[in-house]
């Protein structure tokens, strides 16, 4: 990748410097943690045994003695030995190595210190985004950042007692306006994209609420999220709405820019042929967009699937029982995508044609 301007050079250099600085900080930030951190210096295998589960599957369990030095708190520099059972499949245990830093609470391992890895990984992402997208990449990053902050604060407000669905709707309006306006500037195109996004989202919300009320959530298995102490049906609806929002925005922006491009090239174009081209474009994008949601959502059930089937549960049971929430998320998102096509066509044509006639 060529570096074309001073601005790019400065940004890349500052990304690299910042990333080195934050990485070094995250390696040495043990003093910030309340929990004790142990740096592993030696691991010894004490015992190795083979266990068998009720369906006849064998698995090795290793008992290990982990030796390390505390790096923070009042025990700093003190040595410690911990006995730890590690399984081959690592379903609930982790495989530790010499040099790892682990959290320890009353002589038991809580987990790995992962902050350094997260920091490095996020910087790699930012660097790649900038190298390819340049200014556009930074803008993308800003949009993603703002949306994350909006959601974080929205959820805080919800926990203070504001109605979740109302809050989600306000959040959706805010993040739609901000994302679309930031990326495309404030103009007629953005305005009609915002309008069609919100219109589609409202229709989708009404539809989902109706289906939920009518079917009384029959067949939906909430065990995945029922550890929440708040009403999880509300959270569920809010979640599936937000999941569809990104896709809806994407579709409506694509359609709006295509239609406005057509009108710009030929202002006398008839509404009928506009509708026809709009449908052509939407056919191309619909299939792949639905697939994005399909794999993003449904694949997140693989680990539970493996665990369940290796425990002797049937596949059908899994599909109709464990995967239901992901299925709903995917279905609502896809309905959102397909629904947005006629809605944004309608809105854009109304918007541009009446404005053009004046």
């Amino acid at each position: 990748m060529k570096i074309n301007s001073k601005f790019e050079l400065i940004t890349i250099l500052s990304i690299i410097i910042l990333s080195i600085f934050t990485t070094i900080f995250s390696i040495n930030d043990d003093f910030m943690y309340k929990k004790s951190i142990l740096k592993i210096t030696h691991i010894e295998n004490i015992k190795e045994e083979v266990v068998q589960n009720s369906t006849g599957i064998h698995e090795k369990i290793y008992t290990k003695e982990i030796e390390g030095i505390y790096t923070n708190g009042k025990n700093k520099n003190k040595k410690e030995k911990i006995i730890y059972d590690e399984s081959y499949s690592s379903v609930v245990t982790d495989k530790y190595k010499v040099g790892d830093k682990i959290f320890v609470d009353s002589n038991e391992i809580v987990g790995l210190k992962r902050d350094t890895y997260i920091v490095i990984f996020i910087w790699i992402f930012i660097l790649l985004l900038f190298i390819l997208g340049k200014k556009r990449g930074i803008l993308t990053l800003v949009t993603v950042g703002i949306n994350t902050i909006i959601f974080y604060y929205g959820l805080s407000l919800y926990l203070k007692g504001i109605n979740l669905l109302l809050m989600c709707f306000i959040i959706s309006i805010l993040s739609t306006v901000i994302s679309l306006a930031l990326v495309n500037g404030i103009n007629k195109k953005t305005l009609s994209a915002i309008l069609s996004t919100l219109l589609s989202l409202s229709i989708l919300l009404i539809m989902v609420l109706l289906v939920c009320k009518l079917s009384k959530y029959s067949g939906i298995n909430f065990t995945e999220i029922n550890f929440l102490t708040v009403p999880y049906e509300d959270v569920f609806i809010a979640e599936i709405m937000i999941g569809g929002l990104g896709a809806i925005m994407d579709v409506s922006m694509t359609i709006v820019s295509a239609i406005s491009e057509l009108i710009e090239k030929d202002p006398k174009i008839s509404i009928k042929s506009l509708k026809k081209s709009g449908k052509e474009i939407s056919k191309d994008i619909m299939g792949t967009m639905i697939n994005v949601l399909f794999f993003t959502y449904l694949c997140s059930g693989l680990d539970t699937f493996v665990l369940a089937t290796r425990n002797g549960f049937s596949i059908i049971n899994y599909i109709t029982n464990n995967l239901t929430i992901e299925e709903t998320r995917f279905l609502v998102g896809s309905i959102g995508i397909v629904l947005t096509i006629p809605v944004s066509l309608f809105v854009t044509i109304k918007f541009f044609k009446t404005e053009g006639d004046k």
């Binding site: 379903v91 902050d115 390819l132 949009t143 959820l155 449908k279 993003t296 309905i335």
Partner: protein, 251 residues
């Protein structure tokens, strides 16, 4: 029942808005669902999940590209680029999951899985690699086909452009779609994250505890790999498509 109603609504809308193409999309979804479940099943049988997942990604890409969009220069170029990106990603996903130890379940999910026995005799780090890889295939296909078909249009409308110019316009188009793709991904992940964030907030986790927890880290790694895949696919598809379009012209 509720999902069945939603499925019927989806099918109706697909047929209403795009007719035969809608039915094609629906059939390809069914094929993909079948492929996904078969892939899950093969993994359960104990065959290396990394190899199974990359093969299934290849098949899925074939179904989405060639069945729905037809076989032509655009889709074959996309196919080649997707394979390149998948191979690049597979190795890095494998290394990252090994280093960050995100395989398996975190303590937040124990309630969901406590009815199962944990001794299953399969290495879950491979399964996590498969999950990340299959989870991002949809997004990569989406970006790749968007670029190759846009480049094809550019090529048809302006045949005088050379390979380098075509590649550059591919990058320009890529920048445009990058932001919206990131947004789609972000919202899909926020939707999965919401439960988690509410859980963290109600059970008073500190920020430091959150950024070290297995569940949070594995979600972040998933979203970042999807994003990195979408970024990588832009220059690769631009290059391959530009190359193929020019090669075809010579013959």
């Amino acid at each position: 029942m509720m999902n069945l109603i939603l499925l019927i609504i989806l099918l109706f809308l697909l047929i209403y808005t795009s007719g035969t193409q809608g039915i094609k999309v629906f059939i390809s979804l069914c094929i993909n669902f079948f492929l996904l479940i078969t892939c899950f099943y093969i993994i359960v049988l104990g065959i290396d999940a990394k190899i199974v997942s990359i093969l299934i990604c290849f098949l899925i890409a074939r179904v989405v590209l060639f069945f729905v969009n037809g076989e032509n220069v655009k889709t074959t170029s996309s196919m080649i680029s997707i394979v390149i990106v998948l191979i690049l990603l597979l190795s890095s996903i494998f290394i990252v999951t090994k280093i960050t130890r995100i395989a398996g379940f975190s303590e937040e999910a124990f309630e969901e899985i406590n009815m199962f026995e944990y001794e299953v005799g399969l290495d879950f780090s491979n399964i996590t690699v498969a999950m990340i890889l299959i989870g991002l295939i949809g997004a990569i296909i989406d970006s790749s086909i968007a670029i190759s078909s846009a480049l094809h249009e550019v090529h048809i409308n302006n045949k005088t452009l050379n390979k380098k110019e075509l590649y550059n316009s591919g990058i320009t188009i890529g920048k445009d779609i990058l932001c919206t793709t990131m947004n789609t991904l972000l919202f899909a992940f926020i939707s999965e994250f919401m439960t988690l964030i509410i859980w963290y907030k109600t059970s008073s986790y500190t920020i430091l505890e959150i950024i070290n927890s297995k569940l949070f880290v594995s979600e972040i790694i998933k979203i970042l790999f999807s994003a990195i895949g979408c970024i990588l696919v832009i220059p690769i598809t631009s290059y391959v498509t530009a190359n193929n379009l020019k090669k075809k012209e010579k013959i």
